[in-house]
């Protein structure tokens, strides 16, 4: 890793400068993570008096547990739907904003603010709109003969959390797609248009392929978002229900560990989640970061 050509010489100063960050990292990040790894190999007796070392039993147990596999599947469905929905809408809006000139700043301003809305607040907003008793959308859906009640219908609950989570993420994806589109030289689209390519053809043959680094980067960020930051959305709307239909992996770590006090199982789940984050980060730095000089 590079440093400057010329550097300061001081024996203790660099350590003093790094000390606060390292202290916080070790006390609140690395130590707890290592504790999670440790207790994922242990089992506590029901009274919390003794812990015994059980090797991989917690892991084999959760991997054979239908409710864990269900949460894994639900998380996958949730991730894919939120990512596709929010990225699709964001790309459409970014392409449109990229086409207009005078009103570009105005539209951008009106589209980016949901970034600042907390996920739990997004959940509450959509939960209110979809409230089976007084909500507006169930009332409209009723006109189409659809009986909306996400408290009993698992698919509808999944649709609700997907919409709430995607709604909040549109602004983020929009900003990055817009930045990506604006970095594509106008001469390319102009040349294509002289050759007779219409807007749709230009989009699919020029803009969309050139956007692929942005798209790939956003895919990873969105999966990361859905896996970890949507805790608030789910806690505000469905609490993982009905019948575990919206139970994601993070929400299960929380319910098993905090509410269920099953530390061994919850820790093993945490460790598996860390594995997923490490994998995502690795992919991001291996394939996305190559364009950026660190």
């Amino acid at each position: 890793m590079q440093t400057k050509r010329s550097i300061f010489h001081n024996r203790w100063l660099p350590y003093a400068l790094l000390a606060p960050q390292l202290a916080i990292t070790i006390v609140f990040f690395i130590w707890p993570a290592s504790q999670a790894v440790k207790s994922s190999f242990e089992r506590e007796d029901p009274f919390g008096f003794r812990t015994s070392f059980v090797w991989f039993e917690n892991y084999t147990r959760i991997l054979a547990d239908p409710s864990y596999l269900n949460a894994l599947g639900r998380t996958a469905v949730f991730s894919v739907s939120v990512t596709v929905l929010s990225m699709g809408l964001a790309l459409l809006l970014a392409v449109c904003v990229d086409r207009v000139l005078r009103t570009r700043r105005l539209y951008t301003t009106l589209l980016v603010w949901p970034y600042a809305v907390a996920p739990v607040v997004a959940g509450v907003l959509w939960w209110f709109l979809f409230n089976p008793t007084i909500g507006l959308l169930p009332y409209i859906l009723d006109g189409f003969g659809i009986d909306w009640n996400h408290r009993v219908n698992g698919t509808q609950a999944m649709i609700l959390v997907t919409i709430a989570a995607a709604w909040k993420q549109i602004s983020y994806n929009f900003l990055f797609f817009l930045a990506g589109l604006q970095s594509i030289p106008a001469s390319l689209t102009e040349a294509a248009s002289i050759d007779g390519a219409g807007p749709a053809k230009r989009f699919w043959t020029i803009l969309f392929p050139l956007l692929s680094p942005t798209t790939f980067f956003l895919l990873l960020i969105n999966v990361n978002y859905v896996m970890f930051e949507t805790f608030g959305v789910i806690d505000a709307t469905t609490s993982g229900g009905p019948n575990q239909a919206t139970m994601t992996l993070v929400y299960k770590v929380y319910t098993d560990g905090v509410a269920g006090l099953n530390i061994g199982s919850s820790s093993a789940q945490s460790v598996l989640l860390m594995g997923i984050v490490i994998l995502l980060t690795f992919i991001q730095f291996r394939y996305v970061e190559r364009r950026v000089n660190y």
């Binding site: 100063l13 660099p14 990292t25 707890p32 600042a116 607040v121 806690d235």
Partner: protein, 282 residues
């Protein structure tokens, strides 16, 4: 614009207006709900036009809070959220800029190790280490305190990388000239690096402030005393009154108040916000 296609222009604007409405719609409904009396939510469908109870809903939540739900006045929760967000933002920036300074401008044993230790925090979001982190905070006696609320969220690999990258782009001559003039490392840091980094610091502050404001799970765990509640978690407490429908006008007044500060930050500091977002993520 490469060509003149009036039909496509109209379609573009229609799509954009639809997008803007879709994005704003839930918030509009929440605002409308907050201006009605409780009786408006007993039956039928939620109202679509503002009512005349706005002052009362907001005054009640700001002034006295909700006794049945056990939430303190909203102004107190807003203040808690504000301080939490500010401490997290300032803390992240302070510890990251000094770390980046050490990593770029010094060569010392274990430099790579320090870099990797900071890098690891990227892979440990608070959601995957909640229980053991909670145990650490509890053992340190930091439950129900600002330190407990903020310290476990304060380490930042992204901010460190951002400052490191920025320092690498500064010409070496800057530092050599400072050294020739007899400036030590701390003087160089304070009088040259800090002023040069001010835009980056401001952009990061906007992003980190929002990051701190929207935190939910962590405050939910570490605060059990009412006067430490943050606004975002207070909403959940308001909705969770057992055995009855929430008082929608009050819940929605709180929701609007909870959204307002960070949304205003984004709207009024849009340029810094975009800069911060793009630079912290790349």
């Amino acid at each position: 614009m490469v060509e003149n296609r009036p039909f496509l222009d109209i379609l573009t604007h229609l799509v954009l207006i639809a997008g803007v409405l879709l994005v704003a719609f839930p918030v509009y409904i929440a605002f409308v709900a907050s201006t009605h009396e409780p009786s408006a939510f007993v039956r039928g469908v939620i109202p679509l036009l503002p009512g005349d109870n706005m002052v009362e809903s907001y005054a009640r939540m700001l002034g006295s809070g909700h006794q049945v739900a056990g939430t303190p006045p909203v102004w107190l929760m807003l203040a808690n959220s504000f301080w939490m967000a500010v401490i997290i933002a300032v803390g992240k920036i302070a510890i990251s800029i000094t770390s980046a300074f050490a990593i770029v401008y010094f060569r010392f044993p274990f430099r790579m190790l320090a870099f990797w230790v900071i890098f690891i925090t990227l892979m440990l979001p608070v959601e995957v280490r909640i229980i053991p982190t909670y145990a650490v905070v509890a053992n340190l006696g930091m439950l129900n305190s600002h330190a407990g609320l903020t310290l476990p969220l304060i380490a930042s690999a992204t901010a460190t990388f951002l400052f490191r990258q920025f320092f690498m782009t500064l010409p070496d001559e800057l530092m050599e000239a400072a050294r020739v003039d007899g400036a030590g490392p701390l003087k160089f840091f304070r009088d040259i690096l800090l002023p040069l980094s001010i835009t980056n610091i401001a952009a990061l502050f906007v992003i980190m402030f929002i990051f701190g404001w929207v935190q939910y799970l962590w405050p939910l765990l570490v605060t059990t005393q009412e006067h430490f509640y943050t606004i975002v978690m207070g909403i959940k407490r308001l909705m969770a009154i057992s055995d009855r429908e929430p008082e929608w006008n009050l819940v929605m007044a709180t929701v609007v108040l909870a959204m307002l500060p960070p949304v205003l930050v984004v709207l009024f500091m849009q340029r810094l916000f975009v800069k911060g977002l793009v630079e912290t993520e790349k």
